[in-house]
């Protein structure tokens, strides 16, 4: 599964390069590889969705050849504070999974997170502000009109999200795509080139498989710049064009190298494939 994508607007300008590269490339094979082993690093995934309880997932990295990615961090102290003066310690609902019972996400509000674990000495803190909501006007799915080219994986389907970008502010969006309730990809986009326009965003996951009767759901989130930068980090041109410098995305959490803290809006739409 490909990870998050940048929506193919201006970044879609890269597609010709990719195709050009692919015309000349194409041969692949699996190779034996010796992976490094390093000390596990803490991963913080924290989000406050609009009108929902906040959730924080704490885990640690595992070695690449570990069968199990589930390396949870339990018994941590996770404290969340909202912009209205409410502060609460999140309750560990499942190993490594902490949830609020008072604080729910509200657009425009500021949230502060602090985490303390047994092992991490440094203070782990983050702050994020939930932007104003923007809604999906229309969600379309159609067979791709992109040409088929031998040996190049092109999206079989095109998923088009239409929405109206507010003109008076800089907006950052994240789209999470689900098929039958399961996350298959996520995308980020900003309005640098189309501020205030009626937009059509093409979700360009190349390996989504859809069959008749499947339900495709897109969740549109308004996110902060820091969260945009974080997800953009998974999908810069460096990553699109294979093999160049790989780096960890820049986290908006101080004291932790990996992960993010996002207070985001939520608007979902679904279509059933015909």
């Amino acid at each position: 599964m490909k990870t998050s994508h940048i929506i193919n607007r201006v970044n879609g300008l890269l597609i010709p390069f990719l195709m050009l590269a692919s015309i000349l490339t194409s041969c692949t094979e699996t190779v034996e590889f010796e992976f490094d082993t390093v000390d596990p690093e803490l991963v913080v995934e924290a989000f406050v969705p609009e009108s929902q309880y906040a959730e924080v997932i704490l885990s640690k990295t595992v070695n690449i050849n570990n069968q199990n990615t589930h390396n949870v961090v339990t018994n941590a102290s996770v404290v969340l504070e909202d912009g209205f003066g409410t502060s609460e310690t999140l309750y560990e609902v499942a190993p490594g999974r902490y949830r609020s019972s008072k604080i729910k996400g509200v657009p425009g509000s500021n949230y502060t997170l602090s985490v303390a674990t047994d092992e991490n000495i440094s203070e782990i803190k983050s702050e994020d502000k939930m932007p104003k909501p923007v809604f999906i006007n229309r969600l379309r799915v159609r067979k791709s009109i992109l040409p088929e080219i031998e040996q190049i994986q092109m999206p079989e389907w095109e998923v088009i999200v239409e929405y109206t970008d507010p003109g008076n502010e800089t907006n950052y969006y994240r789209f999470v795509e689900y098929v039958n309730g399961k996350v298959i990809a996520s995308y980020v986009e900003n309005d640098k080139f189309n501020n205030g326009k009626d937009n059509k965003s093409f979700l360009t996951c190349v390996d989504r498989k859809l069959t008749k009767g499947d339900t495709l759901t897109v969740e549109m989130q308004s996110i902060s710049k820091a969260v945009y930068d974080y997800f953009y980090g998974f999908s810069t041109m460096n990553n699109i064009i294979q093999g160049t410098t790989n780096t960890n995305p820049v986290s908006n959490i101080s004291g932790a190298k990996l992960g993010y803290f996002s207070a985001h809006t939520v608007h979902r739409r679904s279509v059933v494939i015909e």
């Binding site: 599964m1 990870t3 998050s4 607007r9 201006v10 879609g12 300008l13 890269l14 010709p16 390069f17 195709m19 590269a21 015309i23 000349l24 490339t25 041969c27 692949t28 094979e29 699996t30 190779v31 590889f33 992976f35 490094d36 390093v38 596990p40 690093e41 991963v43 995934e45 640690k60 990295t61 595992v62 690449i64 069968q67 990615t69 390396n71 992109l146 040409p147 999470v176 996350v183 996520s186 080139f193 009626d198 059509k200 930068d229 953009y232 980090g233 998974f234 810069t236 041109m237 460096n238 064009i241 294979q242 160049t244 410098t245 790989n246 780096t247 960890n248 995305p249 820049v250 993010y260």
Partner: protein, 765 residues
């Protein structure tokens, strides 16, 4: 030392001067770098300048001159107490005479010239080296010499002594070529039919050159045959070439015209796939040159180059990029000892991407251009001393990015502000021989770079905008003064052995930042020195030992260097690079260093000739925020690099050749852990460039069959196999989850080529 030098000038007695030009007798091409030695005065000698002009001052007496140029018969000429002008017309060495025992005595020119860190490649020398897809390529050949590497397949960029691609100054008849690659770097922009020679300066370039911190690749186009009309060309599988040259006025002027075009897309037309059929994928090059000798004292040249790549899928994408360059030159001989060249140069590079998006098409374009005026004097004081004085003025204009979109598009058109800069340099150098055993060349280049308005100029601190100021047209925004020093010393131990050393500093004001280092895509962004971006600087010291064995048949050299590179720019993590006005805020600055040992053994003559080159080197970077600021291997850090080139003349008609390269895998970053975000597996990267790609090696083979010439008509057939033993050299290694078991990860290697055979028919009449 200087004192001795000037004293020797004062002591000059009655002297006679002989001057003129060195040319090929057959076609009138000027021969720059031909050596002229005096038999009666061992250790003295000079070489012709880039325009073939030479001046020799001799004391009273009768002397025998020997004129040498590689691949040509040695000329002998007697002078006798006269001030004369004489043009030497040299004859090509016929192949049959390349037998060891009949080969004439050579003058060990590589020993006695002050040329450490210099590789000169003549097109005529490399014609038998195996080729890729039938295209002879001078840039590919130069990467077979020590100190020059190309990282993996499909990357046209050359790394010279640890520098990156943008640190090379690539000149065609003095005009800068900003993106010297076609088709993702598989071909260079230099059509071998149009090129005479290339000189690569990897250590200390003469003071006339400036502007890049790693190397100068000075490529000279053919002047054109001024004796008779000549047509040459080649027919290949994916491209063809044609060149026409001839006299305008015999002996005085000639023209040259060459074209090359690939037709991969014509092959696509043959496919049955309707989607592929109408795609565009091609490139072309056009070179043109005329030169005219007005009289003995004045000669003018006009050269032009244009080349463009096109790639497109109808109604979806279009991508085009290209270079354009033109040079006007005027050689003037003021009097026999004073030669000048005046050049007016234009060069440009641009790219444009079109993307069809419902309901309209948007385009992104970007470009850089410069106008250049260069005026240079060569003063030949005597056979032991030569001066160069020059002035170089360059005006730069950069269009960093412009987005074109119509009214109803979902995009707003936008334009990143253009940037203007001017570079002024005066330079001076002197090469002199304090004794027959020593050659010293020292030079200085005083460089001033100014960036100019109009526009709003920003300042950033740690990537955050702190200040913006509006400047009017021609108002100076920022000015940098960067003096550059050049020094090279050669000590001739005996005619077969010499020691050489060099020191130089260089500065660079035009910076290229790229996100696509692994494939040579024209989406590079050019920026100039500004309030935020300091000029890049380098210091390099090098030393070498040169030894010729067996009458100059074997040439051995060992060179070692240390290079410091200051104020290197790179993108911070996850930069916003597309049409970003604040691109300078996305940059981080650090330092680089490179050091190494280069060994080369050449066999110059005989049925079997070629060379073995070996480089042991290290290139490291230190950038705040990456690997805690510690030194770490740069992407182009290649520890061991071996090149073997062999050309064997089986018979008069049949030549076989082979090249083999071996490189340590370059430094890359592979994941060292994994974790989940949003239920998707992500990779954790621990140390930047802490891993290595698999080693790269490749064998290329070639056979050239020269057909019997019929009158003037000569032709040959060349078969080549690129990557003959089909080594799967890794282009990239990616990590994927096992589809049947998402918790498991395996490494997937992509490689570009297995064995690629090609055939080309070349002709000349």
């Amino acid at each position: 030392m200087f004192l001795i030098h000037f004293v020797s000038l004062l002591g000059a007695q009655t002297r006679h001067t002989i001057s003129g030009s060195v040319t090929d007798i057959e076609n009138g091409e000027t021969l720059g770098g031909a050596t002229i030695t005096i038999e009666e005065l061992p250790g003295t000698g000079i070489s012709s300048n880039a325009y073939g002009y030479y001046v020799l001052t001799l004391p009273e007496g009768v002397f025998t001159l020997k004129i040498n140029y590689i691949g040509y018969k040695t000329l002998t000429y007697q002078v006798n107490n006269n001030n004369i002008r004489h043009d030497f017309k040299m004859e090509v060495q016929v192949t049959d005479l390349r037998e060891v025992n009949v080969f004439p005595f050579k003058e060990n020119e590589n020993i006695v010239q002050n040329n450490i860190g210099i590789e000169k490649i003549l097109i005529s020398e490399i014609k038998d080296i195996p080729v890729f897809f039938g295209e002879q390529d001078i840039m590919k050949t130069v990467s077979l010499t020590p100190g020059v590497t190309s990282v993996r397949d499909g990357n046209g960029g050359l790394n010279v002594r640890g520098g990156n691609n943008s640190h090379n100054l690539v000149l065609v008849d003095e005009a800068t070529i900003y993106h010297p690659n076609h088709l993702l770097g598989f071909f260079s922009t230099f059509n071998s039919d149009a090129i005479k020679e290339m000189t690569l300066y990897k250590a200390t370039a003469p003071a006339s050159y400036g502007g890049r911190i790693s190397s100068v690749m000075d490529i000279r186009m053919k002047d054109g045959n001024n004796q008779s009309l000549e047509v040459s060309g080649g027919l290949g599988l994916i491209s063809s070439r044609l060149a026409i040259e001839g006299p305008i006025v015999k002996d005085r002027g000639s023209f040259f015209l060459a074209g090359r075009r690939t037709y991969v897309d014509m092959l696509l037309k043959l496919t049955s796939d309707p989607d592929l059929k109408n795609n565009t994928l091609n490139f072309y090059d056009l070179n043109a040159k005329i030169n005219y000798k007005i009289n003995e004292k004045n000669r003018i040249f006009l050269s032009a180059y244009t080349g463009r790549d096109a790639f497109g899928i109808p109604d979806h994408f279009g991508l085009g990029w290209g270079n354009r360059a033109a040079t006007f030159r005027w050689n003037h001989i003021w009097y026999d000892k004073l030669f000048s060249n005046t050049s007016i140069i234009y060069s440009e590079f641009d790219y444009k991407v079109d993307l069809a998006f419902e309901p309209s098409v948007i385009s992104l374009l970007s470009g850089i251009k410069n106008y250049n005026f260069k005026h240079e004097f060569h003063y030949f004081l005597n056979e032991n001393s030569r001066f160069t004085l020059g002035y170089d003025y360059i005006l730069y204009n950069i269009t960093p990015g412009q987005l074109l979109a119509d009214e109803n598009a979902t995009f707003h058109p936008m334009k990143i502000q253009e940037r203007n800069g001017r570079e002024n340099a005066i330079y001076f150098s002197n090469e002199f021989k304090p004794s027959p055993k020593w050659i010293i060349n020292f030079g200085i280049r005083l460089n001033t770079f100014r960036s100019f308005g109009p526009g709003i100029f920003y300042q950033y601190k740690d990537g955050v905008l702190t200040d913006s100021t509006t400047y009017k047209r021609n108002e100076v925004v920022k000015s940098y003064f960067t003096p550059e020093r050049r020094l090279s010393i050669t000590h001739i131990i005996n005619p077969r052995q010499s020691l050489k050393m060099a020191y130089s500093t260089n500065s660079q004001h035009i910076h290229m930042v790229t996100t696509t280092e692994d494939v040579s895509l024209p989406v590079d962004i050019w920026i100039m020195s500004s309030k935020n971006v300091k000029p890049q600087n380098s210091d390099q010291i090098s030393a070498g030992y040169f030894h010729n064995i067996k009458n100059d048949m074997y040439q051995f050299s060992a060179e070692t260097y240390f290079k410091w590179m200051h104020d290197q720019t790179d993108f911070r993590n996850s930069p916003d690079v597309m049409a970003n006005q604040h691109i300078e805020g996305e940059l981080v600055t650090g330092n680089g260093r490179s050091y190494g040992l280069e060994l080369m053994l050449k066999k110059k003559y005989g049925k079997l000739n070629g060379w073995i080159g070996y480089t042991l080197s290290r290139t490291e970077l230190s950038i705040p925020g990456i690997n805690d600021g510690n030194w770490y291997p740069a992407r182009q850090d290649i520890t061991n690099d071996v090149s073997v080139v062999g050309i064997y003349e089986l018979t008069k008609y049949l030549t076989m050749s082979a090249t083999w390269v071996y490189q340590t895998g370059n430094a890359v970053t592979f994941p060292s852990g994994k974790y989940k975000i949003n239920d998707e597996v992500k990779y954790y990267y621990n140390i930047r460039n802490g891993n290595r790609m698999p080693d790269y090696h490749r064998l290329d083979l070639g056979v050239t069959w020269n057909f019997k010439s019929k009158r003037k008509y000569k032709s040959s057939l060349n078969f080549s196999v690129y990557n003959a033993y089909a080594r799967k050299n890794a282009f990239s290694i990616n990590f994927e989850e096992d589809p049947s078991d998402p918790e498991k990860t395996y490494a997937v290697m992509t490689y570009l080529f297995t064995a690629i055979p090609s055939i080309t028919y070349n002709f000349n009449f």
